[in-house]
């Protein structure tokens, strides 16, 4: 049976999150101290070599990203922690921030040192006011101790827009604007917050950094899958026995996640489908459960690791109904900036409603596939590009459910 490996959550349940001395006594801030004894290039190289890739969904090598900002010449640079966590079924960043806020601050400070930034922002979703309180207390304690040196961290609150998790939309939001994604390039590491070089990383990404600095890149690169090393926190929802969170090496398979950690399907029922990575992820059938959860293996089966949400559905679930619900989410969350998404999510929801109500025609299935394939290519940001994925993957793997509902 597969076992949990707690790296990011190493202090979970062991320290008082609101007592910085607890964190320090558990070895906290050694990573920052070590980083500061190294050159900036050496820190970045260490992070790059560890193979750590972004835990917010896009899977970009963290060290490589940092190098862009390090090399950019500017009077000011920013470090932004993406704590917008809006992907349905996901609450892993909340678990990290509630239980070990200092690890996130330390990760940000190491990034600040590496790229030459003195100012960090944590953009925390508005639905987590209690987390904002914890972060502010943690920052106050770190400042009092002077442990962050001249690196300052400020918390900003989101306000219920899923698209603000997209890094350029997030930046717009910190600037006090509507959270619409920007045209790219330029990318944030070159030109981000207030046009300055900006590193945006996910909470879980930052929380990995201190321990990588402390234990070294070789140690980290040896854990889990080769091309996406380390661990991933997964949050299990739906029809699994254990609706809980786990931290596992990235070479664990989906089947192990559901059966070893999730305890299998509730009430002795049979498995039907699992959607991984949140509401924008693909639906996965039984035949693909032996895939390992790392970024590339998931991509190879047309699915995503995304945020690490694992939404399990048993044999009784109506996938057309679930997919309709998801299509409403995207219509609601589309920011409206580009036509393929603004119009596409609306039409897609319309067609899904019709299909779910038993009034769809065989034509609709083809149209919806065509629309989906256009959207995945023509939409400006990841929201519109990923929106068709639940529809397309259910059509691919569970087409019979649609056929049975045709009017």
């Amino acid at each position: 049976m597969a076992e949990e490996v707690r790296i990011v959550l190493r202090n979970y349940g062991k320290i008082d999150p609101l007592n910085i001395d607890d964190y320090i006594n558990a070895g906290g801030y050694k990573g920052l101290e070590k980083a500061r004894s190294m050159s900036q290039e050496a820190v970045i190289e260490e992070v790059r070599k560890s193979g750590l890739r972004g835990r917010g969904g896009a899977g970009f090598n963290a060290g490589t990203k940092w190098k862009f900002s390090y090399r950019a010449v500017a009077d000011e640079k920013y470090v932004v922690c993406n704590a917008d966590e809006g992907e349905p079924g996901t609450y892993k960043d909340r678990i990290i921030m509630e239980n070990d806020p200092q690890s996130v601050l330390e990760g940000m400070a190491i990034c600040g040192y590496a790229i030459g930034s003195r100012k960090g922002y944590i953009y925390c979703r508005g639905e987590y006011p209690y987390v904002v309180d914890i972060l502010n207390q943690a920052i106050a304690q770190a400042k009092e101790k002077g442990i962050l040196g001249d690196f300052d961290i400020e918390v900003r609150m989101g306000a219920g827009a899923y698209v603000c998790g997209e890094e350029s939309a997030l930046i717009e939001s910190i600037e006090g604007h509507r959270g619409s994604p920007r045209f790219k390039p330029p990318y944030p590491p070159a030109e981000g917050l207030w046009q300055k070089p900006t590193i945006v990383n996910n909470v879980e990404t930052f929380a990995n950094i201190p321990i990588i600095m402390e234990k070294g890149s070789d140690w980290y690169a040896g854990i889990g899958a080769k091309s996406y090393p380390g661990t991933k926190i997964m949050t299990l929802t739906g029809d699994v026995v254990n609706r809980t969170f786990i931290e596992i090496p990235t070479d664990v398979t989906i089947r192990q996640v559901i059966y070893d950690f999730g305890g299998g399907i509730r009430e002795g029922k049979k498995f039907k489908a699992v959607q991984i990575g949140g509401t924008s992820g693909g639906f996965i059938p039984e035949s693909l459960l032996d895939t390992s959860i790392d970024f590339d293996s998931m991509g190879a089966i047309g699915a995503t690791l995304g945020s690490g949400a694992v939404f399990v559905m048993d044999e009784t679930r109506d996938l057309v109904d679930v997919t309709e619900r998801i299509s409403k989410f995207f219509e609601h969350e589309s920011c409206g900036k580009c036509a393929p998404c603004r119009e596409g999510t609306k039409r897609m929801h319309e067609m899904m409603t019709r299909l779910n109500a038993g009034q769809g025609k065989a034509d609709d299935l083809e149209q919806i596939e065509q629309l989906g394939s256009v959207m995945s290519r023509a939409c400006l940001c990841g929201l519109g590009q990923a929106a068709p994925s639940p529809v397309l993957t259910t059509l691919e793997h569970f087409r019979n459910e649609y056929m049975e509902k045709l009017g």
Partner: protein, 148 residues
């Protein structure tokens, strides 16, 4: 200085601070008073339409009155399959209003929400941002009774 200006002014010099100012207003009133938007536009030196544009973009903000207790029901997929519809039906029945409405006494407002990040305990509702997990339709009366 008006009350609104007093609430907004601490954020006036914060770069991009208008969203924080809106949070402060909503903390105080449970919604953003319409007139406060004009005050914010003034203080942040942006046009009224820009100030509106920001406030209306974010679904966590609500312009104009709502109840003292804002109940939001998560209808994202995991809560949906866990029976969010039954919780909605129970809340509507108990309060005698439909989703999106406010009770006549101005005490309760019912709103839809997407995932609020408490998915370990679906279905989930929040009352003035405080989460309630594993909500059963039969428990709705009890939860409401605790809102004094």
């Amino acid at each position: 200085m008006s009350d609104y200006a007093k609430i907004i002014s601490p954020y006036k010099d914060l770069p991009g601070g208008i969203i924080e100012a809106y949070h402060a207003l909503q903390n105080k009133y449970n919604y953003i008073p319409e007139d406060a938007i004009a005050v914010a536009a003034d203080m942040f030196d942006i046009s009224l339409s820009q100030a509106y544009g920001v406030a209306t973009f974010y679904s966590y903000f609500k312009i104009g009155p709502r109840g003292r207790y804002v109940i939001r029901i998560c209808e994202s997929a995991p809560c949906h399959v866990a029976g969010a519809d039954d919780v909605i039906a129970a809340l509507e029945k108990e309060l005698g209003i439909s989703m999106g409405e406010t009770t006549e006494d101005g005490k309760f407002t019912l709103e839809f929400a997407e995932c609020v990040g408490q998915c370990q305990g679906t279905p989930v509702i929040t009352i003035n941002s405080q989460p309630y997990v594993n909500v059963e339709p039969e428990k709705v009366g009890e939860i409401l009774a605790a809102c004094k």
